[in-house]
Amino acid sequence: MSSPSSTISVNTATSTPGHRVLVIARHEYRAAVRSRILIVLLGILVVATAASVFIASAEYAGRLADYQAYRAAAEAGGVARIAPSPLAPLSLLRGAMEYLEIIGAVVAIALGYLSVSRERSNRTLPLLLSRPVTPTELAAGNLLGALGVIATLVAVTAVVAMLCVGFIGHDWLNGIQLFKLALAYVAAVAYMGVFYCVGAIAAAKSKVAITGLMIALGIWLVVVLVLPQIGDTLDADNQIPGGLFAALGLGHDGEVRILAHFTTYETIRTSIETASFAKHFERFAFAMTDVKERFRSLSLPDLFFQVRTDIAWILAYSIVLVIGLLRAFRKQPTVPQGGQQ
């Protein structure tokens, strides 16, 4: 396959570092949208997201119609207290968030890997670094361009999801819901940005870039799929189909009283989940999209207070990985090694 033919034209005599970073970012963006594999992966993500919201919205429309019929009947019958709707249209985006968490991370890793391997296999990296462009500017430009690609992708999935909820679910999101949705998608951009850094760092640190890709995919597997699954499996209530506490005939109070004897166990279980960056994104996104019922009645400040730890972890991971990316770009080999990219 021919490599993307976009060129980086940096007038080094007059350009400022900020300008050089922007030029590299534009190049990164153009090269990414011309990559066939990336387009295929993006297509899988968008179609899967749209399908999940479509499926959820179709079911939601039926439930909404039932509630509206109940409400009309209650109003006609002069019922004084009509139960509020238990439905939460934002929760229809749960599948979309999960796809961003799983497939979005792979797309981001591929983006990071391609950033590095493209310049290496085309042998343009030594040329680029022979100009007064520092590795830090190169890393910053690539990251900025990748974030642009990720933001475009996330915006497309957000619009598709919003339209599905409106047209198929017959419920349009209001201003606050749109704001919460925007926050969830900002977190998604940060989340995918972290995985972009993982892909780029692994490729930049490996002599053979494809080995870096395999390592990054291994990290993705552990962080996104294995660690959260272990955390869920260790949940005492998940030990028996139908719930352990239900099998023992214990209600919520009994469960709380018994779990008081398992604080160490619960701490270990929670720590395993906390070790997964994906779980922090998931918790934040689920809180913003009303997936968990306990969050639905909270105001935005209360919601932020509830997920403050997850916000802190997302920020911490982002900062550490961006620093890692800058360091990796300073030390990466400039020519292809090992014969395969």
Binding site: G218, L225, L234, P241, G249, G254
Partner: protein
């Protein structure tokens, strides 16, 4: 000639550090599944003891011990999840490496400058891949049996051992799908990175997207050992449910759960029916691999792109 190709490939894989790392990870995850099973065993026993004390204090009778509701092989139930995740990644990388090296290093060009049958070449590669996967899963089986020995402090019953062997046999068949996908992706693309990412894309579709369409399973639901498809009351699923028997990821998990006795038993014929689409897919992919190798231009390699 087939054995020559196969033994060369196995030697080559043994020297690949990334492959060895993935293999170790699979074995480690089998041990983790055992530890999780042990933890589950312990937790249930301790929760039960606490529950009995609590209920006795309230003057209520003790419920039956829920541990008796747990099947004997539930200790390894997480393997039903880890094999389609870690095992599939191992298989993809295995299939990828088996052809990508010949492609990138120009070895394929050298081999086919000699009077060598391409059918023998494919057969040797497939034999090597199948053998390595079988060896990896045999290692995982041994670790699993070891976990059962340690946790239960007793040798597993013959029927349980038989169930485990059948489960790992099915897992081998399932992983062959991904090894073949890895090989086909190399043959259909010109860059090794594109090949690996394309194969990953296929894995994502099979593991997460198809079950969403056929059974309404959200991606994280696919990570549970036992899953329940949504009801077919929705018109959408009334249509897509017809494709459910061909969703190999779902059929693998359902068949595995029945083989390991994790869910209510079903007739053996029904379990075999679940396995058939996987077997048909493996056969079809093997034929596609053969056809693609026959037509492949080995004079072109990624090193001279």
């Amino acid at each position: 000639m087939i054995t020559t190709f196969a033994s060369q490939q196995i030697q080559s894989l043994r020297r690949q550090r990334i492959f060895v790392a993935l293999l170790i990870a699979l074995l480690a995850m089998t041990a983790v599944a055992g530890v999780l099973g042990w933890s589950s065993h312990n937790t249930i026993t301790r929760v039960y003891d606490e529950a009995v004390r609590l209920l006795a204090a309230d003057g209520k009778p003790a419920p039956p011990n829920p541990f008796l509701l747990k099947p004997s092989l539930s200790l390894l139930s997480n393997m039903v999840v880890y094999i389609p995740l870690l095992g599939a990644l191992l298989a993809l990388v295995l299939g990828h490496l088996s052809l990508a090296d010949d492609e990138a290093d120009g070895v394929g060009r050298l081999i086919f400058s000699r009077p060598v049958s391409r059918t023998h070449y494919v057969a040797g590669k497939l034999f090597a891949v199948a053998s390595v996967l079988a060896a990896a899963l045999a290692g995982s089986l041994l670790v699993g049996i070891g976990s059962l020995l340690v946790v239960n402090r007793a040798v597993p019953a013959i029927t349980d051992l038989g169930r485990l062997v059948v489960f790992y046999g099915l897992s081998w068949l399932y992983l062959m799908v991904f090894a073949l996908v890895g090989m086909i992706a190399v043959l259909m693309t010109r860059r090794t990175s594109l090949a690996l990412l394309s194969a990953m894309g296929v894995w994502l579709v099979i593991t997460f997207a198809v079950p969403q369409f056929t059974s309404g399973l959200r991606p994280t639901e696919s990570l549970n050992p036992i899953t329940n498809p949504v009801s077919t009351s929705q018109r959408f699923f009334q249509i897509t449910a017809f494709a459910r028997p061909y969703s190999v990821a779902e059929q693998y998990k359902a068949a595995s759960s029945h083989i390991l006795n994790l869910v209510t038993a079903e007739p053996v014929a029904q379990t075999i029916q679940r396995v058939l689409p996987i077997a048909v897919l493996v056969t079809s992919l093997a034929i596609v691999t053969l056809v693609l190798v026959e037509r492949h231009d080995f004079s072109r390699s990624s090193s001279n792109e």
